[in-house]
């Protein structure tokens, strides 16, 4: 199906593209020759037909919230689109501190996500042709391959220091704070060794590890030009602290919000008016973030209000409608760079009401 987009308003244009893309993805995932066994079987019992009823993104509300237990309990092979049958694939994991982790399979998505991420930054932000150091979760996580791909598309190589977040969370849960600190020190020691002995200009790590490295060495003096971080809540004060003190106002800083199920939401460039409050924008149309009423996820929150983060991921490799994340955030308006809703000051869901283990690695 083709449609000529005539709107000139960037927000309307983005919206029209999202509607078009949604129809394309529904057609892919619910057609017998391209869809996967899991969703094709689901459709048989759904009592409605997405192929007929989803005409735009608003119609995605007809899906109920996706239960992530499915990603723990179902053989990942049931998510292989028939169009990709027989093609070797990657299995990526998220969670898993206790019990089964969630699993997502993939082929090229991580490359697409991280190439798009790379396109967002100019040659000097993460200096092209320079090497990277990733200090973060590797193992079964998508991030390990993704960061290496990012380094490669920008003309560099990537060094890795592994960090096992499942073990860290368990240590914290069990009150083994000394051991957790020792483990962090062990990770930081390895990172500093690489930074001192190899030519590195760009880094990916978690904010906590970044801080810990900078307590031992000056990152600008170590030759670091750009840092890409993700993984935990960053309050405006924390962002200011990282920029002014940890990065000494001399290193480009790219905070992101993302996970194995979404890809990467990029933060818009900070302006003085933001007062260090971050706003992230999903890689739309491949993934869509909405800030919804926690008591009624069909309802969007008003702009500048906190609500629960809802994620819809739609690529040819993976379809996940309306997954309610364990995060809450402020619904922010579209901006020039990203003409769709953003999510601001992300924090764990209901973190004001309960203690949440995060930001530990």
């Amino acid at each position: 199906m083709t449609q000529t987009v005539t709107q000139t308003n960037p927000i309307e244009t983005a919206r029209a593209e999202l509607d078009r893309y949604t129809r394309e993805m529904i057609a892919w995932h619910f057609s017998a020759d391209t869809g996967c066994p899991y969703w094709l079987d689901w459709a048989k019992n759904a009592g409605w037909n997405p192929l007929e009823e989803v005409k735009g993104f608003d119609d995605m509300l007809k899906f109920e919230a996706f239960d992530d237990a499915v990603l723990r309990d179902t053989d990942p092979a049931r998510f292989i689109p028939n169009a990709y049958a027989g093609k070797p694939y990657n299995v990526f994991e998220t969670g898993g501190t206790t019990g089964m982790p969630k699993q997502r399979i993939g082929w090229e998505d991580y490359k697409v996500d991280y190439s798009e991420f790379s396109d967002n930054y100019d040659e000097d932000f993460f200096q092209k042709g320079t090497n990277w150091l990733m200090v973060g979760p590797t193992g079964p996580r998508r991030l390990r391959l993704a960061i290496e791909h990012l380094a490669n598309v920008r003309g560099g190589a990537c060094y890795f220091i592994d960090l096992d977040p499942r073990w860290v969370k368990r240590l914290i849960r069990d009150g083994e704070f000394d051991m957790a600190r020792k483990y962090k020190e062990h990770v930081v020691d390895q990172a500093i060794t690489i930074l001192k002995n190899r030519n590195i200009a760009c880094m990916f790590t978690t904010p906590t590890i970044l801080e810990a490295i900078a307590e031992r060495i000056s990152l600008p003096k170590a030759g670091i030009k750009g840092v890409f971080v993700g993984g935990t809540t960053m309050t405006p004060q924390y962002v200011r602290f990282l920029i002014e003190e940890v990065l000494e106002n001399q290193v480009n800083f790219a905070p992101t919000y993302g996970n194995t199920l979404m890809g990467l939401a990029i933060s818009r460039k900070l302006t003085p008016e933001d007062n260090y409050s971050l706003t992230y924008y999903a890689p739309q149309p491949r993934a869509v973030l909405r800030i919804v009423n926690p008591d009624n996820p069909d309802e969007l929150m008003d702009y500048d209000e906190y609500g629960r983060v809802e994620l819809t991921t739609m690529t040819k490799e993976f379809f996940m409608p309306r997954f309610l994340e364990r995060d809450e955030a402020i619904r922010r308006k579209p901006c020039e760079e990203f003409p769709w809703d953003g999510v601001g000051d992300v924090r764990p869901f209901q973190s004001e009401k309960k203690n949440v283990i995060e930001g530990v690695y």
């Binding site: 009150g175 704070f177 000394d178 801080e211 900078a214 307590e215 309050t235 405006p236 004060q237 924390y238 200011r240 602290f241 003190e245 940890v246 007062n275 260090y276």
Partner: protein, 483 residues
């Protein structure tokens, strides 16, 4: 700054830093403004600790004799001065301090002032305090590291580049504990209690105004993670908290934990018949400072005359009633969090279901224990008479005038008290005094008719800060080292 808000900033080596993370403590200021407090992130503290040498150097540049003079001068400034408060050149008068502190902590004005005098006295008596802590060594010890005692050269070295303290909110007087560190040339990193950022901030401002180098003071209203960054990152740490806090930090020898005091009055067989002479001391031990201190008695042990003494105590305690916060005769504190008061009240009633204990004050009190009056929630003084010395309420501490009274033979008392911060032992018996002085369970021992909250400046309170911050080294030379 937002209109209508006064902001207490972080102090990083005395320099003002306004965090973007804040806590709003509400409209508690006399000006009608909201009181907003900066919240430091833990990384900020860890980063500052890397520069601790500048604080130490600033203190070492001032002779100890001068620092002692500054402490004495700070006492007056703290008591009477208009001191910097907020970000825009605002100042705080004494009456602003007292009224705001009262609104935040529930302490009546009379007790706020009482605590002020305690802190001021600790500054004023700094020479006696330091002398008591060092057992009379000359203050110049902190300049040269050496002193001569008789024919012996003595060398002490600092074991801590800084002292980190996470303070409570229940009783402002507790701030007197960290003051001597500055004279001992040890910079302080302070985390105030959530409801009392005022007291340490005012003391710091008074000490800076008196002449102390501002670099010696770092002040971080912060999270639990920030509190850990302070006490784990500083050379030595002091933490106040519950039994759970004691357990959490027990494995760190560089952290001194001040948990529940479980202070007690022990009455000897030789004195019990004169009980009317020391009834005031029993009542004061339980009720002074609104019962908020760890040095308040939470238990009175009697060898005999149980019914007479316990009823007399209960009658006196029950007569202490809630009053308005600005009433000069107010002795009880309101609870900053009414739910906390309700939870304590429920817990006591639950425990009373176990046979062997009775709330003796109930029959003398004019109403229930939990009272809403004068816009505050109070718990009225409560004395639990325990016929069973193993009753759960026999050795429990709460943050209001609450105590148990238990009958135990004198010979068994020391075997039953367990870890106790202060014991006031009312006895003249030399043999029992020897036993008391030999007890490993008692931190501070008051002998005679003195309340548990009595402070003698030459005696260390809750551990010797000098011994905590300094260590003696053997030093030898063929010639005399110290002049």
């Amino acid at each position: 700054m937002e209109k209508g808000a006064t902001h207490i900033p972080v102090l990083r080596f005395g320099e003002v830093y306004k965090s973007l993370d804040t806590t709003d403590l509400g409209k508690v200021l006399s000006s009608g403004n909201d009181l907003e407090v900066s919240v430091a992130n833990a990384g900020l503290i860890r980063r500052d600790l890397l520069s601790i040498d500048k604080a130490r150097n600033a203190l070492f540049a001032v002779p100890t004799e001068k620092l002692l003079e500054y402490a004495e001068k700070a006492s007056e400034i703290y008591l009477d001065g208009e001191l910097p408060f907020g970000m825009d050149g605002e100042v705080q008068t004494v009456s602003d301090y007292v009224s705001t502190l009262s609104r935040l902590t529930g302490l009546p004005h009379s007790l706020c002032r009482g605590n002020m005098f305690k802190v001021a006295a600790a500054l004023k008596n700094m020479r006696a305090v330091i002398s008591g802590l060092t057992r009379g060594l000359p203050p110049s010890l902190f300049d040269s590291g050496c002193a001569r005692l008789g024919d012996i050269d003595i060398n002490y070295f600092s074991t801590a580049n800084s002292l980190g303290v996470t303070l409570p909110s229940n009783s402002p007087g507790v701030n007197s504990l960290w003051l001597p560190a500055l004279v001992m040339k040890t910079p302080v990193f302070l985390k105030p209690g959530r409801e009392d950022p005022l007291t340490p901030y005012r003391i710091i401002q008074a000490m800076i105004a008196a002449g102390f180098p501002k670099e010696a003071f770092s002040f971080y209203p912060t999270t639990h993670e920030g509190g850990d960054a302070i006490v784990l990152g500083c050379g030595r740490g002091i933490v106040f908290g519950s039994d759970a806090t004691v357990k959490k930090y027990a494995k760190y020898p560089n952290i001194q934990v001040h948990g529940s005091g479980r202070s007690k009055v022990l009455v000897g067989e030789d004195q019990v018949d004169q009980w009317e002479e020391f009834l005031d001391v029993l009542v004061e031990s339980v009720s002074a400072n609104g019962g908020r201190s760890c040095i308040n008695a939470s238990s009175v042990l009697l060898p005999s005359r149980f019914d007479e003494i316990s009823n007399a105590m209960a009658k006196r305690l029950a007569a202490i009633e809630p009053r308005a916060r600005d009433d000069d005769d107010a002795l009880l504190c309101g609870f900053a969090n009414p739910d906390f008061a309700k939870a304590i009240n429920d817990a006591i009633d639950d425990e009373l279901k176990t046979p062997g204990a009775v709330d003796l004050t109930a029959k003398y009190r004019n109403g229930p224990r939990l009272v809403e009056k004068f816009g505050q929630t109070f718990l009225c003084p409560t004395l639990i008479a325990c016929s069973d010395p193993d009753h759960p309420l026999a050795n429990t501490e709460y943050m209001f005038p609450f105590a148990s009274v238990v009958q135990i033979p004198e010979s068994e008392m020391l075997g039953r008290i367990g870890p106790t911060l202060v014991v006031s032992a009312i006895t003249e018996s030399e043999s029992w005094k020897r036993d008391l002085m030999g007890s490993p369970h008692i931190d501070r021992l008051n002998l005679g008719i003195v309340p548990t909250n009595w402070v003698q400046w030459e005696q260390p309170h809750e551990g010797n800060l000098f011994e905590f911050l300094y260590h003696r080294r053997a030093i030898q030379s063929k010639s005399q080292i110290t002049a």
